[in-house]
């Protein structure tokens, strides 16, 4: 590390390599890191990199560029540590860890904004406790939503299974969004800013649909085929 010793420090940690930088502008930090990697490409091959960027505010483009550059060299960037909220947000958006000891972020699905609300995310598995799914459109689950799981969708939520977790449809304020499921025994449902707590678990579950009625209250009712007045 003779060439740029003052700008980049690299040390081994349990989960791979940790890169720390001296307090210089990002362009210089980036150039110094790239130079280090080019020089010692064999050492870095296949490495898992965590990066501490201090208070440097980084935007999506900065990190995406670096991540792609690294992955071309078989290096995985998995964590970005920073005191800057902008950088933290960017890293989270890209699904990178922001704390080294934190569980890895693959349990949360982050999807970039800008997907129209008629797009749907299809998930063919049971959503288990601790999993949070956020999506800017409609979410369709082919499986159960277990207690402790959360689905936050800007569109509708349709579950071909049993709902016992928390579901929020129309999360950005769409009051015409709805939630339907084969068995709607959720402990809490939300549509836009309406909340309904404690739906009674049913002995003999039937498909139900929850929506906001004319009086502005969130209510769940049995699904009757052919009765599609709410939907269109």
């Amino acid at each position: 590390m003779e060439s740029a010793p003052s700008i980049v420090q690299i040390k081994g940690i349990r989960d791979g390599l940790l890169v720390t930088f001296a307090d210089v502008p990002w362009a210089e930090q980036r150039a110094a890191l790239m130079q280090q990697i080019e020089e010692k490409s064999a050492f870095f091959q296949g490495a898992r990199l965590a990066m501490d960027v201090g208070s440097q505010p980084l935007r999506v483009n900065d990190l995406v560029d670096l991540r792609d550059w690294l992955s071309e060299r078989t290096i995985t960037l998995w964590a970005v540590l920073s005191d800057s909220p902008t950088t933290e947000q960017t890293a989270q958006l890209l699904g990178l860890a922001t704390r080294i000891s934190k569980p890895r972020p693959e349990e949360t699905r982050h999807v970039l904004d800008g997907i129209p609300s008629d797009q749907a995310l299809f998930i063919a598995k049971t959503i288990r406790s601790g999993t949070r799914i956020e999506y800017p459109g409609t979410v369709v689950v082919f499986g159960d939503v277990n207690p402790g799981a959360e689905i936050v969708a800007e569109g509708n939520v349709i579950v071909w299974g049993r709902v016992r977790g928390v579901i929020h449809a129309g999360a950005k304020g769409n009051r015409s969004a709805y939630i339907c499921a084969l068995d709607l025994s959720a402990n809490q449902l939300r549509i836009a800013d309406e909340v309904s707590a404690m739906l009674k678990p049913q002995k003999d579950p039937k498909p139900e649909i929850a929506s906001i009625n004319e009086e502005g209250k969130l209510q769940a009712e049995l699904w009757h085929s052919g009765e599609t007045n709410i939907r269109k």
Binding site: R14, R104, E107, R128, S129, G130, N146, P147, G148, R164
Partner: protein, 265 residues
Amino acid sequence: MTAKVITVTSGKGGVGKTTAVANLATALAMDGKRVVCIDGDIGLRNLDVVMGLENRIVYDLVDVIEGRCKLKQAMIRDKHLQDMYLIPAAQTRDKNAVSPSDMIRICNDLRAETDFVIIDSPAGIERGFRNSIAAADQVLIVTNPEVSAVRDADRVVGILEAEEKGNPSLIINRLNPTLVKNNDMLSAEDVLDLLGIRLIGIVPEDENVIIGSNRGTPIAADGKSRAGQAFRNIAKRLQGVDVPFMDLTPQSGLWNAIQRFAGRK
């Protein structure tokens, strides 16, 4: 021999992971298998106590990882069973002394000369848990028939799915058939209904399990105990033998009469 590495985990603490590890290892060793148990709970070790080997610890897992001793030196042979060993956890260190790749390396070293490596995972879903599942070929999830334990088990199943650790199997521990019959406890069906994973055994509540743990003699060695029988059945299933599940409906007749006499009914 190529060992199968089995990790026993739960999410919630106090559901019987350590007891399950000690009993499954005992049962497997009684079937003539060569078994090594690893206590993955660095800093809060207790598998050595349950197995009654506390006084024999010289080296531990962290000593092996940091190169202060050979793997063989840290393997403590059981008092009764010839082919059962324990690698204890370090008590004076914490989870950060071990990494997932350390666990994989140690398990790979053990694979050549054992049939089963059983790892006792700490409670929680943090570092220690991730270390413990890193090397696993199969994961056993222990839960009690309680809502909180089942919810934590569900969380663990989700993480295992995300880590692509295959399909875990479920042990329902401390089921009380009488309470289930009276609708005062979740039934095995309720638990399976939520978790949706393969059941590998149901262990009935039995106070002798606690007595055995305190004495350092796992109940699986006791031919008369029903909990011991349940653990022996699970050990058989781990070896690929198809054993029917025990009938756990509350016993009538004499047993009820004794309970009535003891004022429990």
